[in-house]
């Protein structure tokens, strides 16, 4: 199972990075989402994988529990990555609406931008 899990993380990472290296906003946002999944799942897995051992205490029996700490960390990370994605989406949208262009690079403007600095 570890092999499946690790390879899935690798695939998500690779896909995320490939999309982040595209030139338009939307694929980059998709790439960021995939990378967030990869990072969250990675962090989660640092607690090692366990099946049927949720970290909910059982008052009646001695059972095994998986590591709760990475879970708490990842839970907030998931929510924060929503906030991050939302801000990036908004910036991309604002840029597109203002400039009618969804390129993420600004090489064309580099000459003009330096003058008023």
């Amino acid at each position: 199972m570890e092999i499946l899990f690790a390879s899935a993380v690798g695939v998500l990472t690779a896909a995320g990075i490939y999309l982040i290296l595209r030139k338009r906003t939307f694929p980059v946002i998709l790439g960021l989402s995939l990378l967030s999944y990869a990072v969250n799942v990675f962090l989660f897995a640092t607690g090692r994988l366990m099946i049927n051992a949720p970290p909910v205490l059982n008052k009646y029996a001695e059972v095994a529990y998986t590591d709760p700490l990475p879970q708490a960390l990842v839970l907030t990370a998931i929510v924060i990555s929503f906030g991050m994605t939302a801000v990036v989406v908004m910036i991309a949208l604002g840029a597109y609406l203002s400039a009618k262009d969804d390129h993420i690079d600004m090489i064309e403007d580099a000459d003009g931008a330096g003058d008023d600095a």
């Binding site: 199972m1 998500l12 338009r24 694929p27 529990y65 590591d67 907030t76 906030g83 989406v89 993420i104």
Partner: protein, 952 residues
């Protein structure tokens, strides 16, 4: 009065003028004067003890781990300087009230002035060199504001920038020097450092520390070759020049040298660096001053020269020279501040500072003439004024000092400088006040009102009083101040006019005679001076700065070409490179955990995930399809969390997934639906290689991690063991979030709230720009649904709303003991509301939304904070939770926990943030005519019959 209060008063007082300016200029000036007066009185209350030889201390640990403590102490030197700063500050506040015109923003002026004053007082009272450095930088910043006060003048702006660049970079050097010094001694407390002379001077780091500290002091005190900023700073209003450039800021460097004198002075390095620099500065300043036609420029270079004089005295390293330096600091402050003020008066009344256009003013401005005459004669070093006394002492010391074995070098140059000093002092009198009355003044000159001449008049009164009764008036102050500088036994000295026919007297006499001669020769010399080529400091400075700017811009442009793609690629490649290095050089332990057998379920999930991800990469140009596939990935991730014993994560992931997809759909509505092919195949192949290598690395890393045990015991055991006992909950993840790591969660919800507010602000900015017109007239770029609000969906969502909210409440309340909690409940509640927006339309939902989402975010954060602060009432640290059990018949026993209240804050913040984000995006799509009258086309409560009849 406590030293803390004295140091804090100017800063507190800085608030008032800015606020009180609405009540008039007198109110602003009075408030500034009052706080300064209070601080001055506070200082005087401490004076008797200091004059008895005590050292007053006030200590407060701030960051003891870094050695940074808020320690103040007041000894003789501190008393002298603080007295100068606050006393002359009072006079300047009075003078500025009448000097500044109606157009000048006076509230701002006094605020800046008090900020500066506070920073200066902080420097002279600090007993910790790190604290001192903080105040030191503050003086650079506040003096920048003061010098550039007349923002409309380009000279003012340039002068301010130059002063900041020079003194600021000197300050940086000094930080390094002070850190070295603290490192040598092992303490950053000044009183400790001052007791380790041998240790410091024996250290191999002594010379670097000395040079770095001296660079800081020299730049601040305008010593050669950093002297050029001071004359350019004269673009400031005259009260600023009088305050900063005669009495305070430029003396900060001298103060520092005097303060460090006991541990740094006395070595040949100190003598040759400090005394030589001071000597050169003294001569250079005096010579240039004679040929300046601008009154303030003349005074500026004369200040440079006098600062050089004091520096040289400190550089001699003998005790009696230090006494002379301290004495001259007092004398220079009195006569030079008076002279600056008199120059300001002349400028104010005649509208010119050009000596060539002045002359004969003694008849027109008798009071100003008297003030300037006395101050000038003191500056020239004539008896019975105070300048004579300290100049005699300086010449006496110079006479006894030999330089590189030559006994004539220093005395000769000292007389030479004194000669020029006398000459420019006489010139100030003769060319401005004496001579025939002229008829071509730019304005008709007359003496100013009392408010303007009172302050300089008081200063020249001191000039005379100190000159005649020096031993009684300033003798004790000079003794304690010099005692603090020397840090040991005071040598015998006597501050009196007549010492007999000493060599100094002859030197003085030569200087005064020569000065008169020079003045007589001035017209001819001036012509020669103007014809001679001289290096212009400003041109050199500007070209140096220009070169640096170009160089840094060149480097920046080469590194940053604006391509974010390139930055990302470099970042990933770099990360891969250092990871490879770590992999090569590190040693991986053997795998200790067995690989678990995977059942059918994980394999199916893996196939779904990998194929969905592959399809996304292959089909990312079809944006809608890619978005749908991302949903599949999110779903599998969520299911994996559930499978791998993380029910909380599964719940969070799936609800976040819903809102994220809605968010992206909303955005995609405006964006192009297709991504064109742009990168050539080679680039895509390159990116694919980078991505695959990185993916392999990450996958390999986590595989290695998962097949090994923890190398150290995990802290998770603590959480598992204490979750129920200490936190009162059995869901350990939730207890960690709201209890063990509650502070982190508190930060999280604040960040989330900020993100939502940023999005709201961006939306407002977009809607406020011309994009709004485009948005309002935008035509959909794909065919639209016939019915935007289908009946089935509207009915279904409305029925589901209470159910969904019920689920949210259930999830919320069980969160402490079973999977759930504020984060998940908040997301579910937000989804419940989102359904209404989607089904019934934005306008319909927005009309029914009575509470602003901003307020919900804010109340969430406030509730969480209030819960945390509640712990203070019980005497516990922030966010300590409490819980207990209640038993109300006939209900079952149930638990209460303050953590639930904290979780409520989390819940509200999440609901508010999610809703504000999505609502902001949705507002962009609003167009007139979209407000359908009824969200549902068929509504039994509505009587359409009457309306239909009308239309027919």
């Amino acid at each position: 009065m406590s030293l803390f209060l004295i140091a804090a008063l100017p800063f507190l007082g800085a608030l008032f003028p800015a606020l009180l300016i609405r009540a008039g200029r007198n109110a602003a000036a009075a408030s500034a004067g009052f706080t300064t007066f209070l601080a001055f009185v506070g200082l005087l209350l401490n004076a008797p003890a200091v004059l008895r030889g005590e050292v007053i201390q006030a200590r407060l640990d701030w960051l003891p781990g870094l050695g940074l403590n808020t320690n103040f102490f007041l000894d003789g030197l501190g008393l002298l300087f603080a007295g100068l700063i606050l006393g002359i500050g009072l006079l300047i506040i009075l003078y500025a009230r009448f000097y500044l015109s109606r157009e000048d923003p006076m509230g701002q002026f006094y605020t800046y002035l008090l900020l500066f004053q506070g920073a200066m007082v902080g420097i002279v009272l600090s007993d910790n060199i790190l604290l001192l450095l903080v105040f030191w930088e503050l003086t650079s910043l506040s003096s920048f504001l003061l010098i550039g006060y007349w923002k409309h003048l380009p000279e003012g702006r340039q002068g301010a920038r130059m002063a900041l660049a020079v003194t600021g970079s000197g300050g940086l050097a000094m930080i390094a020097g002070m850190l070295i010094l603290g490192h040598i001694v092992g303490s950053y407390d000044l009183t400790v450092i001052l007791q380790h002379k041998e240790l410091i001077q024996a250290s191999p780091l002594y010379l670097p520390a000395l040079i770095l500290i001296l660079i800081g002091a020299f730049t601040k005190s305008a010593q050669f070759p950093f002297h050029f900023w001071l004359p350019h700073a004269m673009a400031a209003p005259t009260p600023v020049s009088a305050y900063l450039h005669s009495a305070t800021m430029v003396k900060a460097g001298l103060f520092l040298m005097a303060r460090m004198w006991p541990v740094l002075a006395g070595t040949p390095e100190w003598f040759y660096i400090v005394a030589t620099t001071g000597l050169i500065t003294m001569v250079l300043g005096a010579v240039i001053a004679l040929f300046k036609d601008d009154l303030k420029a003349l005074l500026a270079f004369s200040t440079v020269s006098h600062l050089g004089l004091i520096t040289m005295l400190l550089g001699f390293g003998t005790k009696i020279a230090a006494v002379a330096a301290v004495f001259h600091i007092i004398n220079h402050a009195t006569f030079k501040a008076a002279l600056f003020m008199s120059a300001g008066i002349i400028d104010h009344e005649t509208h010119t500072r050009d000596i060539k256009r002045l002359g004969g003013l003694r008849f027109l401005m008798p009071i100003t003439f008297t003030i300037a005459l006395i101050a000038c004669l003191s500056m020239a070093g004539l008896p019975p004024f105070n300048g004579f006394l300290s100049k005699e002492m300086m010449l006496e010391e110079a006479f006894h000092t030999s330089w590189m074995g030559s006994p004539y070098f220093i005395p000769g140059l000292a007389v030479f400088a004194a000669l020029f000093s006398a000459a420019y002092s006489f010139r100030y009198i003769v060319h401005v006040f004496l001579g025939p009355k002229r008829h071509d003044y730019p304005a008709h000159p007359h003496d100013p009102g009392t408010g303007l001449w009172l302050a300089p008049a008081f200063l020249v009164f001191l000039v005379i009083a100190i000159g005649i009764g020096s031993n009684h008036i300033v003798g004790p102050l000079v003794s304690v101040a010099a005692g603090a500088v020397i840090g040991g036994e005071l040598p015998y000295f006597s501050l009196k006019l007549w010492h007999g026919f000493t060599p100094a007297l002859w030197m003085s006499l030569a200087a005064v005679t020569g000065g008169l001669l020079l003045l007589w020769l001035h017209p001819r010399l001036s012509k020669m001076w103007n014809a001679a080529p001289r290096p212009e400091a400003k041109v050199i400075f500007d070209s140096l700065l220009g070169t640096l700017t170009r160089a840094s811009r060149g480097v920046t442009d080469a590194l940053h070409n604006g391509s974010i793609t390139r930055y990302s690629a470099i970042m990933v490649a770099f990360t891969i490179a250092i990871s490879l290095y770590a992999y090569q050089s590190g040693v991986a332990s053997e795998a200790t955990r067995a690989v678990q057998q995977a059942g059918a379920l994980p394999v199916i999930g893996w196939i779904c995930l990998v194929s969905a991800t592959g399809f996304i990469v292959l089909n990312h140009r079809n944006r809608l399809l890619a978005l749908v596939l991302i949903g599949v990935v999110g779903l599998i991730v969520s299911l994996s969390f559930n499978y791998l014993s993380a029910p909380d994560l599964a719940l969070t992931q799936i609800s976040v997934e819903v809102v994220t997809i809605i968010l992206m759909l909303l955005a995609l509505n405006f964006l192009p639906k297709e991504t064109p092919v742009e990168s050539p195949l080679a680039i895509r192949a390159r990116d694919a290689v980078i991505a695959i290598v990185a993916g392999t690395g990450v996958g390999g890393l986590i595989y290695a991690l998962m097949t090994r045990d923890f190398s150290a015991p995990s802290i998770s055991e603590f959480h598992l063991a204490n979750s129920y006992k200490g936190g009162g909950g059995t869901n350990v993840v939730n207890v960690i979030l709201v209890d063990f790591r509650g502070y982190d969660t508190f930060g999280e919800i604040i960040v989330l709230g900020i993100a939502a507010l940023v999005i709201y602000a961006l939306t407002e900015a977009i809607l406020g720009s011309k994009v709004r017109a485009y948005l309002l007239n935008r035509k959909p770029d794909s065919p639209q649904d016939g019915d935007p609000h289908p009946l089935m969906m509207v009915v279904a969502t409305r029925v589901m709303m209470p159910l969904a909210l019920m689920v949210a409440a259930y999830i919320f309340f069980r969160g402490h003991n079973l999977p759930g909690g504020g984060f998940i409940a908040g997301l579910i509640a937000a989804i419940a509301m989102l359904m209404q927006y989607m089904a019934s339309g934005f306008s319909w939902a927005a009309e029914r939304q009575k509470v602003y989402y901003h307020g919900i975010i804010g109340s969430g954060v406030l509730i969480a904070a209030a819960t945390g602060m509640g712990a203070w009432l019980a005497g516990q640290p922030f966010l300590t939770s409490a819980f207990g059990y209640l038993h109300w018949a006939p209900l079952e026993e149930f638990e209460w926990a303050t953590a639930a209240l904290f979780d409520l804050g989390v819940f509200l913040a999440v609901v508010g943030a999610v809703m504000l984000t999505l609502e902001s995006l949705a507002r962009l799509a609003w167009q007139p005519g979209m407000n359908s009258e009824h969200a549902m086309d068929i509504n039994p409560a509505r009587d359409d019959a009457a309306k239909l009849k009308e239309e027919v």
